[in-house]
């Protein structure tokens, strides 16, 4: 059975940043050497603090940006950094990968009605679909995400954050994609609304057999959603594995620290919170060796010399010399 929809191998995205007039350019490795696979009907969660490359990964997978190096296979199409896609390939890929953004207040065009927002993807990509059919599809999609038909003619500012995020999900699904990239889809919402949206996403995944690339910094949300988890730190994947394994037996010190920072609703449970010293280092000037070594309590001389690699062969690989 091979229903792998995303296969990434050594995916990297670098930015050249100008250092002012005399500084020349520096390279930011926003994403380096990420490898993962994602199957239909499964959810891969990408976690990490802000600036760790999660959103860059989302942008590369949705082809908003090209990878600098590495291979990416999306729904059977190979994307290489050195050869640009033809228009026809891009159109096909657009239909299979769509994205839902974090901020539902910025992701809907304020001057378009909900109907137009939903129909736009079809209008652009399927010019042979008639106006009546488009409208019918949009109305069906509204019902599918739990909105009422009369919302069709309204403008985005008439909706609350939760409803807007439903609209954003509906728009992303209009082209019947097989992969949905969710870039922190609930972190801008109230807690009570978050669960509604998450339940909607789970329901849609079951119904449409979607593959989710779920990007989040909220571990309690990830625990609820994910089948597999990938932990990132400063553009690198540091640990990867089935959600249960990563949550119950984290192997990387960073994962452990992240997990200890999530509040648990159990007052009797003993808090063993690991406090990380210092800030996330600048991606412009990452530390030598393992990127996590300045903040790691287990760091030794070896960690400052060379960076540990992730062994892709393992079931629960970790990029650490001294895994827990």
């Amino acid at each position: 059975m091979d229903n792998t929809l995303i296969e990434a191998r050594g995916l990297s995205r670098h930015y050249d940043v100008s250092n002012g007039f005399f500084g020349g350019t520096a390279t930011v490795k926003a994403l380096s050497n990420a490898s993962f696979t994602l199957q239909a009907g499964r959810t891969l969660a990408v976690v990490g603090e802000s600036g760790c490359g999660k959103s860059t990964l989302a942008r590369v997978v949705t082809m908003i940006e090209k990878p600098s190096s590495g291979e990416l296979t999306l729904d059977g199409h190979h994307i290489r950094s050195d050869e640009p896609l033809t228009d026809a390939q891009q159109a096909e890929l657009r239909a299979s990968v769509q994205i839902v953004f974090q901020d539902p207040f910025g992701s809907l065009n304020p001057r378009q009605t909900i109907g137009r927002i939903l129909e736009e993807p079809v209008l652009i990509n399927r010019p042979d679909v008639t106006k009546a059919q488009r409208e019918q599809q949009a109305r069906e999609m509204l019902a599918m995400v739990g909105l009422r038909p009369e919302h069709y003619d309204r403008y985005p500012h008439m909706f609350s954050g939760g409803q807007r995020q439903r609209i954003a999900v509906a728009r992303a699904l209009m082209l019947e994609p097989r992969i949905l990239v969710l870039d922190e889809p609930v972190s801008a919402l109230d807690l009570s609304i978050q669960s509604q949206i998450l339940n909607l996403l789970v329901e849609l995944q079951e119904r449409l057999n979607l593959a989710y690339l779920f990007i989040s910094h909220d571990l309690s949300v990830v625990r609820h959603m994910a089948d597999d988890v990938m932990v990132m730190y400063l553009g690198r994947v540091v640990e990867k594995g089935a959600a249960s394994e990563v949550f119950d037996a984290p192997r990387h010190p960073y994962t452990r620290a992240l997990l200890s920072a999530t509040p648990v609703a159990d007052p009797t449970r003993e808090q063993t919170r690991i406090r990380l010293e210092g800030e996330l280092p600048s991606p412009l000037n990452p530390p030598a060796g393992c990127a996590f070594n300045p903040r790691c309590w287990k760091a030794e001389e070896r960690c400052r010399q060379s960076a540990p690699e992730l062994d892709e062969q393992e079931a629960h690989p970790v990029a650490c010399y001294f895994p827990l």
Binding site: I64, Q102, F105, G106, S107, N109, P110, S160
Partner: protein, 310 residues
Amino acid sequence: MTASDNSNAVTANAAEGQGELMARPGRFREFWSYFSENTGAVIGLVVFLTFILIAAFADVLAPHSPTEQFRQALLQPPAWQEGGTSEFLLGTDAIGRDLLSRLIHGARYSFFIGVIVVVIAAGSGVFIGLVAGFARGWVDTLIMRLMDILLAFPSLLLALVMVAILGPSLVNAMIAIAIVLQPHYVRLTRAAVLQELPKDYVTSARVVGASRFRLMFVTVLPNCMAPIIVQAALSFSTAILDAAALGFLGLGAQPPTPEWGTMLADSREFVLRAWWVVTFPGLAILINVLAINLMGDGLRDALDPKLKRS
């Protein structure tokens, strides 16, 4: 997104708990509630509308033809002054033409100038601004430096030079004024585009494969309109004023066109003998421009999110 959208989103959020959305007043009603708070703006609008009506029905309203010369009534004073008759309410000019009729017909020219100049300037300015905002890189730099050069000249002087090259006529004066006004639109549009481009809805349109043309005109432009509308209203009066100035200098509308600036120029030499021949065209320009500026300020208050309360 405007502040009104935000504030309404807040009301929508508040209503979420009840599961029902509050009915929201229409966009226009909301705009009007802001606009009508400003008394000056409403007065400006009323005066402006009156001028439009006068211009539209000039043929019916004017007692005489604007070019007909009454040889028996040269430089006749207004009706309320000694020597005036009710036939020529505001008096006549040096060659016996009825001043009131000329002013009424002059309103037509003023609006004609205002509309055409704003359409040319805004149309080309918005397009060039969109191109600059989307293209970035050297195209952007080239366009913006060119616009900076245009803006560095005193506007009337630049218009004068252009009319001198093209030859004096009303059409050429309008073209010159449009070129002088157009850099403002370019800057405004570019700034608005740069503000909108990083927003997620633009990225979202890109992800679904919107063409560059579609992104420019369907996705981004409607969200940049508020400052452009305000600029259009304000440059309407600038256009009328500049056209009058060019007319006064003899480089705009040519006699016997009853254009207000040209009328002023024709009657320069009679300032001391017949006050009415310069005062009334001058007043017409003043009132018209003042009304449009008041209205434009009100528009800005109502449309600019940064000036809105709450």
